[in-house]
């Protein structure tokens, strides 16, 4: 416990001292981490491959953009929209979940992919609401408990605790009976029904919860950028989030953390190669997957292992 506290304290003390660019990079990592934790619930825990996760991210982002900007002259507080955006995304998650209950594997993946694209295209087409490809700019400066969230540092101080809480809750969820239920569905849905698990309910919970996290991340992203446009929510974003959890180690929160760090920081390290960057990134991807197909972090190095290593229960 003490060690964890120390590490967290160190982060709080140390990171804001870094040059702003690094803080911004870390913020980006944290936002993606939030997304990855969410997606991991569906893909990692319940074994439902979702390629349209970015849709919920977009819903969250646009909730803030629309409810706190000149777009309609509505200016709701950040905290409130955080809840609204999360809720909207969560509802969307469940609504998507209902029709695809019967689908699994790639079939599910493709339907979710289609759903994600549809959402993006609507954001691009419903000009009266989303201002279309022009995007919504001059979004309100977020305030939380009277503090203005202006610089990347402010956002770091918001994001870090949020992510830590999300991680903790996700872990407790993983260990909870619901987490076990998800695992059972992932392993053998029919047998899971056979031991009395209401797969419908449990799946919808997975969709809803993960979507909610996606929504949160979206709201924060919008507040962070103070500009949203459909470009930021393409199919590629969905793939990036999937990549994060797969490269890190599917279903393993430690892996998810590592994955987020690697997949955001590596491209930043490659910046200096300017136009060769994406080429190197592609090579890095293939190599990483070939070297560790199961993800960078092995299954056994999960939070439980850390907790035990820390000698804390």
């Amino acid at each position: 416990m003490a060690i964890v506290a120390a590490v967290v304290a160190a982060l709080f003390h140390f990171v804001p001292g870094l040059p702003t660019y690094y803080v911004r990079v870390i913020d980006t990592v944290l936002i993606y981490l939030l997304l990855a934790i969410g997606l991991n619930m569906v893909v990692g825990y319940a074994g439902l491959l979702d390629l349209g996760f970015v849709a919920f991210y977009a819903i969250g982002a646009y909730s803030y953009a629309i409810l706190a900007s000149g777009q309609f002259g509505i200016h709701l507080p950040f905290g409130l929209i955080l809840i609204i955006g999360g809720a909207l995304a969560g509802v969307a998650g469940v609504l998507l979940g209902i029709p695809v209950l019967r689908l699994r594997g790639d079939y599910l993946a493709i339907v979710t992919l289609g759903f994600g694209e549809i959402v993006r295209l609507l954001m691009n087409n419903l000009v009266w609401m989303t201002n279309g490809p022009q995007g919504i700019s001059r979004i309100d400066q977020p305030f939380l408990f009277g503090f203005a969230l202006k610089t990347p540092r402010d956002f770091f101080l918001l994001l870090l605790p949020l992510v830590l809480v999300a991680l903790m809750l996700a872990w407790r969820l993983e260990c909870s009976i619901l987490g076990l239920g998800w695992a059972a569905i992932r392993e053998d849905q029919d047998a899971a029904r056979g031991i009395g698990i209401n797969t419908t309910l449990v799946k919808l919970l997975a969709f809803g919860l993960s979507a909610t996290l996606g929504g949160f991340a979206g709201v924060i992203f919008a507040g962070f950028q103070r500009f949203v446009d459909p470009v930021s929510f393409g199919f590629w974003e969905s793939l990036t989030i999937v990549l994060i959890i797969v490269i890190g180690g599917v279903g393993n929160l430690v892996g998810v953390v590592v994955g987020a760090a690697v997949l955001i920081i590596v491209p930043e390290l490659l910046r200096e190669y300017s136009e060769y960057r994406m080429l190197l990134y592609g090579c890095a991807l293939v190599v990483m997957i070939l070297v560790r197909p199961g993800g960078i972090v092995g299954r056994r190095y999960n939070p439980a292992w850390i907790i035990q290593k820390l000698g804390w229960r």
């Binding site: 660019y21 690094y22 930043e268």
Partner: protein, 372 residues
């Protein structure tokens, strides 16, 4: 431990980034690895040219100029990250960023916070809406880009009807909207206003639809290769309407893509006078070909111009060249540039934006309007 790790990881980036000492650096971020790579790269080549010339002429009071070229992939998120990177790097005194309006708008917040002089190539009117005093746009915005062709179409060509197609991107839809407004204001009739997908290659369905409307003008708001393909298919399907496109189409590739016969008669708006109009441009075109052995891209001249504006300001700032002084000097800019005089109004917009309309005639762009 964590500290070490962070230092190691992020420090790596810092080292990689750290400059050769005592150079003055100008940062630039644009799309270098996505579908718009052609534009981004040739645009930055233009800047490189201007900077090479400046260095050949002894640089800024003895210091060498360096262009730091970055790839934002037209992605707002990366745009802001890069903005922060430039802000933190004290050796960077000015930036030319970004190419896409959707990236410039969020990144300008960041540049403004650290008072880094920013010269942008994004033409969307919204870009200057925030009224940041460190943001300058030495090119015409979409109002000009979409307005002049409308006037020309109505007055010179006496067109009555137009069909407008755009690629649902910030730029394409932007100019298309302005064109539409002006055309209607001028008493013309818009028979249809439709969006296609930027990545599309097959427009036959839409064109077949347009055919039933048979408008005098077809305006396409979008970039290459879309424009070329659209024009080609427009003619293949036997439509004779005069074709209008914006400056991304000011590119030999338009003619090669659409085919000389199809391209003939197409009207393309561009902000620079013909490359043979004045010695500056002739030289520019020659130098560009020499350095990069290809034709200048549609934005190469703009990039050159934008860099030139900054270099001028730096020269005037003299010994005490800092971000602040550069911003001050940029405001006072009065440069007889590649594409005419550059002066900024208090919003940082080009005071007297120019626009030229070119007509495709036997494999070349020939000045059509204004007739000099």
């Amino acid at each position: 431990m964590i500290r070490k790790l962070l230092v190691a990881v992020l420090g790596g980036a810092a080292l990689a980034a750290s400059p050769a000492f005592a150079d003055i650096k100008i940062g630039t971020a644009g799309p270098l690895s996505n579908a718009e790579a052609l534009f981004g790269t040739t645009w930055q080549n233009g800047m490189q040219l201007a900077i090479n010339e400046a260095n050949a002429a002894g640089g800024i009071n003895g210091q060498k100029l360096v262009l730091v070229r970055q790839d934002d992939q037209g992605d707002p998120k990366q745009g802001t990250l890069l903005a922060q990177k430039f802000c933190d790097d004290d050796s960077i005194l000015a930036v030319i960023a970004n190419f896409n309006s959707g990236v410039t708008i969020p990144s300008s917040d960041v540049y403004n916070r650290c008072g880094l002089p920013q010269v942008t190539n994004s033409s969307n009117p919204k870009v200057t809406a925030a009224g940041y005093d460190n943001l300058f746009r030495p090119i015409a915005n979409d109002f000009m880009q979409g307005g002049a062709p409308a006037a020309y179409a109505l007055q010179t060509l006496g067109a009555k009807t137009t069909a407008i197609v755009h690629d649902k991107q910030a730029f394409g839809e932007g100019v298309a909207t302005v064109f539409r407004q002006n055309f209607e204001k001028g008493g013309g009739k818009v028979t249809s206003y439709s969006g296609v997908t930027a990545t599309d290659v097959d427009f036959s369905a839409v064109i077949t639809q347009l055919k039933t409307e048979n408008p005098d003008i077809v305006y396409y708001g979008g970039t290459m290769p879309g424009v070329g393909l659209f024009l080609k298919q427009l003619r293949d399907l036997g439509m004779k309407s005069t074709f209008f496109a914006a400056d991304p189409a000011f590119l030999p590739d338009l003619i090669t893509t659409a085919g000389p016969a199809n391209a003939a008669g197409a009207i393309v708006s561009f902000q620079a006078p013909p490359y043979d109009a004045n010695p500056k441009l002739v030289k520019f075109k020659g130098d560009y070909k020499k350095s990069f052995n290809e034709e200048p891209g549609p934005y190469s001249a703009y990039g050159y111009n934008e860099a030139a504006v900054i270099i001028e300001a730096m020269k005037r700032a003299g010994s005490g060249v800092t971000r602040e002084t550069i911003v001050k000097e940029l405001r006072k800019t009065k440069l007889d540039g590649l594409m005419g005089t550059v002066e900024f109004d208090d919003k940082g917009e080009l005071k007297s934006p120019t626009l030229f309309l070119y007509k495709v005639k036997d494999n070349d762009f020939v000045l059509e309007w204004p007739k000099s």
